[in-house]
């Protein structure tokens, strides 16, 4: 006689330490195997989009900081690009270079958290500490430049809030030199560790067609093998001046598009960012006013605009409608984390409960951005 089994509903979160914020996952399990995952979001909802309608264009920038709090520079940048396109503002070259340097430093910092906490979810504590030590140095560079460590409000519409600190270039170079060995260490500690590979390879395989159908972007899509990077394929700012590779997953330790691939894409992207920053520091124009293009009063003409940037997590899009006033009529954000959270159900089906955290860590969501 067959054993009678029953499906059980289990709640994971919102206080679970590995949910990277406040996310509640409703799991339907059959024994140890997961049959369905329903993410429940909204615990961090702060009405970002509605708030923006009551703000002037430059007042929205501090709010964008608080969406993806691990990549605030990029949020500022995406918003600034959108409003600049709407108003037809051309920013000076020096500003563009500083923005690229800050954006790529932010990418390293964000990936350091992603990789570190991913190891932490699996049970590896040490690489997390080494990566956070180096992330602190990036935050110190940011603090030196704009005074804040996490919520920068640095990239403004038409310019920057401060020029870089006189010591910035030297300290950034020192940091980059010391950061390269860290990546090697992390590879030896974590990426090639057999126990880590056993936990991540062949887990949560995301086939390329599923990834495209769900609208995945960034390292999640590149982990499935498609070389699609907005910095290269829909160039914004001055990314066409730099030489860098678009990293894709190769299926080195198992199936193409598994958790390990997505993780390893992030590790390698940190080194690509180092390459970009080194080139940008070499070409950085020595002189120039970073505030010369900032308008006194931002009042764009009627119309709408959509711009997208390659956030550390994927495509971050801003859709802004202007009715000719000093406040935006509508600001809509397309956050990569929100889109990536949707694939959780597909990825986790048939896996063990302990693998869910590995999969969730590998798509690297930030709940502040999911809920906005």
């Amino acid at each position: 006689m067959a054993l009678k089994t029953e499906r059980m509903v289990l709640n994971m979160g919102p206080q679970h330490p590995s949910t990277h914020g406040v996310l509640r996952l409703e799991l339907e399990i059959e024994g140890e195997l997961v049959t369905k995952v329903t993410p429940h979001i909204g615990y961090l909802h702060r009405c970002f989009e509605k708030h923006c309608e009551a703000m002037m264009y430059n007042q929205v920038v501090p709010y964008t900081d608080r969406m993806d709090y691990l990549a605030s520079m990029y949020n500022n940048w995406g918003y600034a690009l959108a409003v600049e396109k709407l108003c037809g503002i051309q920013v000076p070259e020096r500003v563009e270079y500083i923005r690229v340097i800050m954006g790529e430093l932010q990418r390293i910092a964000s990936h350091a958290v992603a990789v570190g906490t991913f190891g932490l979810d699996i049970g590896a504590w040490t690489p997390f500490l080494y990566l956070f030590r180096d992330r602190e140095r990036i935050l110190t560079l940011f603090e030196m430049t704009c005074g804040a460590r996490l919520l920068y409000n640095y990239i403004w519409v038409g310019g920057l809030s401060h020029d870089i600190h006189p010591d910035f270039v030297r300290m950034t170079r020192e940091f980059l030199e010391s950061f390269k060995p860290t990546v090697t260490e992390v590879n030896n500690l974590l990426s090639y560790n057999k126990i880590f590979i056993e936990r991540t390879a062949n887990i949560g395989v995301l086939p390329l067609d599923t990834a495209i159908n769900y609208g995945c972007t960034g390292p999640t899509l590149r982990g499935s093998g498609l070389a699609y990077d907005l910095r290269r394929d829909d160039t914004y700012s001055i990314y066409n001046k730099f030489d860098f590779n678009v990293i894709t997953g190769q299926g080195l330790q198992g199936t193409l598009g598994d958790t390990w691939d997505r993780y390893y894409v992030r590790v390698q992207e940190m080194l690509e960012s180092v390459k970009i920053i080194e080139q940008a520091l070499d070409q950085l124009p020595a002189e120039g006013d970073v505030q010369s293009a900032i308008p006194k009063r931002i009042k764009p003409p009627k119309g709408h605009v959509y711009t997208r940037v390659e956030n550390p997590r994927g495509e971050l899009g801003y859709f802004i409608i202007s009715d000719g006033n000093t406040n935006p009529f509508r600001v809509k954000v397309r956050p990569p984390s929100f889109v990536h959270l949707e694939i959780m159900d597909d990825l986790t089906r048939g896996h063990l409960i302990s693998d869910i955290m590995a999969i969730l860590g590998s798509i690297d969501i930030v709940l502040g951005e999911v809920d906005r």
């Binding site: 501090p62 900081d65 603090e143 005074g147 409000n153 030896n188 974590l190 560790n193 126990i195």
Partner: protein, 183 residues
Amino acid sequence: MRQYLRNTWDGIYTAFVGMKITFKHLFTRAVTIQYPEVKVPMVDRARNRLYVNIEDCIGCEQCSKACPVSCITIDTVKSTPTDPVGTTSNGKKKALWVTQFDIDIAKCCFCQLCVFPCPTECIKMTSVYEYSEFERESLIYKFASLSEAESAEKKANYEKFEAEKAAAKAAAAAKPADQNKTE
């Protein structure tokens, strides 16, 4: 069987590779600091608690308009010619008595947007970051230098001045009318 042994060996070997790295780090300098005893020095541009030099404030309310979270409340009273407010440190003449300048630091989001438009550079961000309080009300900082009684006096002064001005105006307007009548 062979694969099983190989996996086991790989597991042990790669764990030792990791151990070697952590062992090396045992002899590097610690990066952590013991916070309350040792503090990280703040950078020059640090963005922490707001401070207002009320002597220089001209009451233009540009900071409160720039604030995205409306944490600055300013109330002003116009000064009268007989009782001038004085000048700021850079020689600008002040026309308004600032009777209220409250910053609710609990609401503040430390974006520094209020600092940039200030014409006299009297509002600025300091490097003070340890200011926790037991009462939420204590986090509303009142920067206005005038006491309540003084504020009331200035207000009364201005109202009196306005009333006198209005009376004078009315008298001036009434005079020609009277002259017209007599002619």
